[in-house]
C-alpha cells in the first residue's frame, strides 16, 4: 500500500518537478532573452558565398584519359581539369576512382604551359608540404590513395576564372579470362555504406557546415568514411573523353565495349585505334573495353624480362591446359548471397535477381543449395542447405522474386552465416552477388580469410560502378574468382561463364621453378589455384640477371593428373625509371605493385602495421609508386594568391552511378501520445467519480 502511494505521488511529482526545474533554467536565461530581427546586418554580406554554396558549382571538372594498351599492359594517362568558376580563390577537392589494380607512378600539375612534376613522399610528409604551400598562397597539387581504387586529388589556390590541370599516369595489367582480354576504367563511386557507430570525437560542426568533403561521418568500423564519400551532382555534369590505342600483338577478332558504343579502326598490322561514338562521355559508370583474338590464336604464354638498376625483373603469363567439363566434379553445396541494400536500388537489384534465378537453374539434382539475402539484417531461405529438388528450386525462385532493395549493407553477418553454415561432405561454393558498396573492405577480407575453411568464395559485381577492389580481393581471400555484370544483357553470358568455372576442375598445386638460386622475391608469393580460363600471372625480381635461354619450369595438378611446362627466359630490356617519359615496359613496376599488395594482404591477415609500413614506403619510393603510405605532391615555386585574399575549399561532386535511383529516407514519427493520455486520464477520473458516487449511495 505504501509503495503504491509512493509511486502515485512520484507519478504526479515527476512532471511537476521537471516543470519547476525548467522554470528555474528559464529564469536564469530570461535576462538575455530579447528578440532581435537581424543581429548580423553589418556582416551578412560575408556569409553570402557560403549561403549560396549549393547553387553555385565552384569548380567545373572535366577529364581526358589516354589509354595505350600493349599486350597485357595498359598505360593510362588521366588528365583532370579543375576550372574555378567563381571570383574567389578556390581549393578543389576531388575524390575519384581508378582501377583497383592500377599502379600510379606519376603525377604532374599543369599551369598554363608550365608543368611541375610531383615527387613521391611519405603520406604525412606530402600532406604537410601541401598544407604549407596552400597557406602560403602557392599553387599545389596532392594525390592521396584512400583505397586501392579510391583516390583524392587536391589542388590549392586555383585563381578566379582560371584552371589547373593535373596529369596522373598509371600502369595496369589487362584482365585475361576465357580467351578474352578486358579492361575497366571506373568513373564514379557508388555511395558506400559505412557500418559501425559514428565516432563521437569527430567534429560535428565540420560535418554540418560543409567543411568536410564527404557526406559520411567516420564510424567505429570505417574511420575514414568522410574521405571516401564524395557528394553527387545534380545534372551528370562531369564528362570525360578517351583516346585509345590498342596493340594486341595479334589479329583481333572483336573489339567491343559492353558499357559504351565504340568504333575501332585498324592502323597497321597489330594496332587499332578505338574511339567512343560520343566524343564526350558522362562519368556515370565504368568504361569497359574487351577484345579477343581469333580462337586459334589465343596466347598460351608470354614472358617479359626487364633490367633496372642492376636488378632483373621477369613477368610471366601462362595459360595452363584446360578441361572444360563438369564430369570431374562431385556434388556441391552452393550458397548464394544476395545484397539487397539500398545501393542496389534500380537496375542493380533486377540484375541480381536474374543472376540468382539463372544460378538456381544451373543446379544439378544431387547438389544442395541455400540463399541468403541481406541489407541491415540478413535472412536465410532455409536454415540449412537443402537439396536442389524442383520444389525447393521453385520456392527459392519465389523467395528471389520477392527481394527488394533498401536498408543498410551489413555484409559481415551475412558472409559469416554463409561460412558458418554446417558443412556437408560436398564442396561448398559461396557466390556473393553485390555492388560491394561498403567502406569496411578490410574487415570483410579478414573475416573471409579467417572463416573460409574448405569453402570457396566467389564475387559477382553488379551495377554501373561496382567496387572492383572488393570484388577482386574478396575473391582472392576466398580462393575463388570474380565476375562483373554491368547490364541486364550481360547477366546470362557472365553467369553461365561463372558456372562453367564452378563446374570445371581447378588447377591446384601450382609451382613455378625459377632458374637455380637466382630469384629473390616473387609475387604473388603463393600461386593461387586457377579456375577454367584463368592465366597464371607472376612477377619475380632477381639479384643477378638470369642468362638467356635458362628455363622456368611450371608444374601443377589438373583433375588428378600432373603436368609440367618449360619456358625459356628471353633477353632483357634495359630501362631506367628517371627518364622523362618512361619507356619502361612496366615489369619492375608491376613487381613492386605486387609486393605492396602482398604486404597489405599480410596486414589484413593480422600482421603488425609497424612492421610492413616501412617496407611499403621503401618499395613505393624506390619505384615511384602511390600506396596507402605514400602520396604524390607538386608545389609551384612562386606565390600566386595574395595574402589578403581568402581561400575557399570546394568539393568536386561526382556523377550519380547510372541506373541508381534517388536516395530515400523513412518518414519520422511525428505524433505524441499527449491526447491519448488526456483521454485515458479523463476516463480514469470519470471512473473515480462514479466509484465515489456509488460508495456514497451504498453508505
Amino acid at each position: 500500500m505504501f509503495r503504491l502511494i509512493e509511486s502515485v505521488i512520484w507519478f504526479i511529482l515527476k512532471p511537476t518537478l521537471f516543470v519547476l526545474f525548467l522554470a528555474v533554467l528559464i529564469f536564469h536565461a530570461g535576462t538575455t532573452l530579447a528578440y532581435q530581427e537581424n543581429p548580423h546586418e553589418a556582416e551578412s554580406g560575408a556569409f553570402f558565398l557560403s549561403h549560396n554554396k549549393s547553387t553555385v558549382r565552384a569548380i567545373n571538372h572535366n577529364s581526358h584519359a589516354d589509354l595505350d594498351i600493349t599486350g597485357m599492359v595498359a598505360k593510362v594517362t588521366l588528365t583532370q581539369e579543375f576550372y574555378n568558376q567563381t571570383d574567389a580563390w578556390v581549393e578543389g577537392v576531388y575524390v575519384f576512382p581508378l582501377p583497383e589494380n592500377s599502379a600510379v607512378n606519376f603525377m604532374a600539375m599543369h599551369i598554363g604551359e608550365r608543368r611541375i612534376v610531383a615527387k613521391i613522399k611519405e603520406k604525412q610528409e606530402a600532406k604537410k608540404i601541401y598544407q604549407k604551400a596552400k597557406s602560403e598562397g602557392k599553387k599545389a597539387a596532392l594525390t592521396v590513395q584512400q583505397r586501392p581504387n579510391i583516390f583524392t586529388q587536391k589542388v590549392a589556390n586555383i585563381p578566379p576564372g582560371e584552371s589547373i590541370k593535373v596529369e596522373i599516369r598509371y600502369l595496369q595489367t589487362v584482365h585475361y579470362d576465357m580467351g578474352k582480354f578486358s579492361l575497366r576504367f571506373p568513373m564514379t563511386i557508388t555511395p558506400r555504406y559505412m557500418p559501425g557507430n559514428t565516432l563521437k570525437d569527430f567534429n560535428a560542426e565540420e560535418s554540418f557546415s560543409g567543411n568536410v568533403n564527404g557526406w559520411a561521418l567516420p564510424t567505429s568500423q570505417v574511420s575514414d568514411a568522410q574521405k571516401i564519400s564524395p557528394y553527387y551532382n545534380k545534372n551528370n555534369a562531369n564528362s570525360i573523353s578517351f583516346t585509345i590505342l590498342l596493340d594486341g600483338g595479334l589479329d583481333l577478332e572483336t573489339i567491343a565495349s559492353p558499357s559504351h558504343s565504340v568504333l575501332s579502326q585498324r592502323i597497321n598490322n597489330s594496332q587499332y585505334r578505338v574511339r567512343t561514338q560520343q566524343p564526350s562521355i558522362k562519368m556515370d559508370r565504368d568504361f569497359e573495353l574487351s577484345w579477343s583474338p581469333g580462337a586459334s590464336q589465343s596466347p598460351k604464354a608470354a614472358i617479359f624480362h626487364e633490367k633496372l638498376n642492376q636488378h632483373s625483373f621477369i613477368q610471366l603469363m601462362m595459360l595452363p591446359p584446360q578441361v572444360a567439363s563438369s564430369d570431374y566434379l562431385e556434388a556441391r553445396e552452393l550458397i548464394l548471397i544476395v545484397d539487397t541494400s539500398g545501393s542496389m536500388q534500380g537496375n542493380s537489384i533486377v540484375q541480381a535477381r536474374e543472376s540468382v534465378k539463372l544460378a538456381l537453374q544451373q543446379l544439378r539434382a544431387n547438389d544442395s543449395f541455400n540463399l541468403i539475402e541481406f541489407d541491415s539484417n540478413h535472412r536465410l531461405f532455409r536454415s540449412n542447405a537443402v537439396s536442389a529438388s524442383p520444389e525447393n528450386i521453385r520456392s527459392a525462385i519465389a523467395f528471389v522474386e520477392s527481394l527488394k532493395a533498401d536498408g543498410g549493407t551489413n555484409m559481415a553477418p551475412a558472409i559469416e552465416a554463409a561460412l558458418n553454415m554446417p558443412g556437408t561432405e560436398k564442396l561448398k561454393q559461396i557466390v556473393f552477388i553485390t555492388d560491394g558498396s561498403v567502406g569496411n573492405e578490410n574487415q570483410l577480407f579478414k573475416l573471409i580469410h579467417q572463416k573460409l575453411g574448405n569453402a570457396r568464395f566467389f564475387t559477382v559485381g553488379i551495377g554501373s560502378a561496382p567496387n572492383s577492389f572488393f570484388m577482386r580481393k574478396a575473391a582472392q581471400f576466398g580462393r575463388g574468382t570474380f565476375t562483373h555484370i554491368g547490364s541486364a544483357q550481360q547477366v546470362s553470358e557472365r553467369m553461365l561463364a561463372l558456372f562453367q568455372k564452378l563446374e570445371s576442375p581447378v588447377i591446384t598445386n601450382l609451382k613455378v621453378q625459377w632458374p637455380d638460386g637466382l630469384y629473390e622475391e616473387v609475387y604473388p608469393s603463393r600461386v593461387p589455384d586457377l579456375y577454367l580460363g584463368e592465366p597464371l600471372l607472376v612477377s619475380a625480381k632477381f639479384a643477378n640477371s638470369p642468362t638467356h635461354d635458362e628455363q622456368i619450369v611450371i608444374s601443377g595438378n589438373l583433375a588428378g593428373s600432373p603436368w609440367t611446362r618449360k619456358i625459356s627466359v628471353p633477353q632483357p630490356k634495359q630501362t631506367s625509371i628517371v627518364e622523362e617519359k618512361p619507356k619502361s615496359s612496366g615489369i619492375a613496376t608491376f613487381w613492386a605493385r605486387g609486393k605492396i599488395e602482398h604486404l597489405m594482404d599480410l596486414k589484413t591477415m593480422g600482421e603488425d602495421e609497424n612492421k610492413i609500413k616501412p617496407q611499403i614506403i621503401a618499395t613505393a619510393v624506390e619505384h615511384q609508386l602511390m600506396s596507402a603510405y605514400t602520396s604524390f605532391v607538386a608545389v609551384e615555386e612562386e606565390l600566386s594568391r595574395p595574402a589578403s585574399e581568402a581561400l575557399k575549399s570546394s568539393a568536386v561532386s561526382l556523377n550519380k552511378p547510372h541506373g541508381q535511383t534517388l536516395p530515400t529516407q523513412a518518414y519520422p514519427a511525428t505524433a505524441t501520445p499527449a491526447m491519448l493520455n488526456i483521454i485515458l486520464g479523463a476516463t480514469s477520473f470519470i471512473l473515480f467519480i462514479l466509484l465515489r458516487l456509488r460508495g456514497r449511495n451504498e453508505r
Partner: protein, 226 residues
C-alpha cells in the same frame, strides 16, 4: 462490519487510489509532453541567440548542457488568428522532436537545397493544418538572414507504402507531420507534407498549388485504429 464488507471497502479504496493515480499519471504525462514542447522552445530561443552571435560554433550552443541537439533555424508564421515562432533543431529523432521540430539529418539546411523538417502534429506543427497554397512563412538561417518561403503543395502520404524521396536537385522545404491532426493514438502511418519553395523561385516558376491525397478509405480506417 463483517470481514466480507471490510474486504470490499479495502478493495474499493485501493481502486479509488489506483484510479486517482492513473488520472494523475495520464494527465501528468500529457502535461509533461505539452510543457516540454513549450518550455524547451524558450530555452532553445536563448541558444539561438548565441548561435546568431557565433554561427561558426553552432553545435556548441545547446539549449541545456546535456542536450544532444542544437537549433539550426527559426521559423515564423502567422495568420489572422495564430502566431507561431519556433526553433528548428538538428535531427528528427524522438528525443529532439519532443522539444522542437527537427531537420532530418542528411538533408540540407532550409534554403540550401532539399530540406526536410519534421514536427509533432499535436504540438509544434499543429499549425500545418492551416497552411494553404500561396501562404508564406519566413525562416531565419544561422547567419541571421531571413528568407521567405511560399507553400507550393500539400500532400498526404502513407509512410508504410512509400518512403521520403530525397531530391537533392530541388531547393525546397518539406514540412512533415503526422496525419490526421486530431487522431488520438500516435504511431499512425499517414503523414501530412507541406512543400514550400523560396519565394523568388516560387514566383519565377509561377508554381501552381497542388494538393494530392491517396485513397480516402485508408484515412477512415486509420482513425479508429487503436
Amino acid at each position: 462490519m463483517n470481514a466480507n464488507l471490510r474486504f470490499l471497502f479495502c478493495s474499493q479504496t485501493l481502486l479509488i487510489v489506483c484510479l486517482l493515480g492513473l488520472t494523475g499519471y495520464f494527465w501528468g504525462s500529457a502535461f509533461y509532453i505539452y510543457s516540454k514542447a513549450q518550455l524547451a522552445q524558450v530555452l532553445i530561443a536563448k541558444s539561438w541567440q548565441d548561435t546568431l552571435q557565433n554561427p561558426e560554433q553552432f553545435s556548441k550552443h545547446k539549449p541545456w548542457s546535456w542536450a544532444d541537439t542544437w537549433p539550426v533555424a527559426r521559423l515564423r508564421w502567422h495568420n489572422n488568428k495564430q502566431y507561431k515562432d519556433i526553433f528548428i533543431l538538428a535531427g528528427a529523432n524522438g528525443t529532439s522532436l519532443a522539444f522542437g521540430p527537427g531537420l532530418l539529418s542528411g538533408t540540407a539546411l532550409p534554403g540550401d537545397g532539399f530540406s526536410v523538417i519534421a514536427g509533432h502534429r499535436d504540438t509544434h506543427f499543429s499549425f500545418l493544418q492551416y497552411l494553404a497554397g500561396g501562404d508564406e512563412f519566413t525562416i531565419q538561417s544561422r547567419n541571421g538572414e531571413w528568407a521567405k518561403f511560399r507553400v507550393v503543395a500539400t500532400e498526404i502520404v502513407d509512410s508504410s507504402r512509400q518512403k521520403l524521396l530525397i531530391e537533392e536537385n530541388k531547393n525546397v522545404i518539406k514540412l512533415v507531420t503526422c496525419y490526421p491532426f486530431d487522431a488520438v493514438t500516435p504511431g499512425g502511418s499517414l503523414r501530412y507534407v507541406v512543400e514550400a519553395a523560396p519565394l523568388h523561385q516560387a514566383l519565377a516558376n509561377n508554381l501552381e498549388f497542388k494538393h494530392s491525397q491517396f485513397m480516402h478509405s485508408q484515412l477512415n480506417d486509420y482513425q479508429f485504429k487503436f
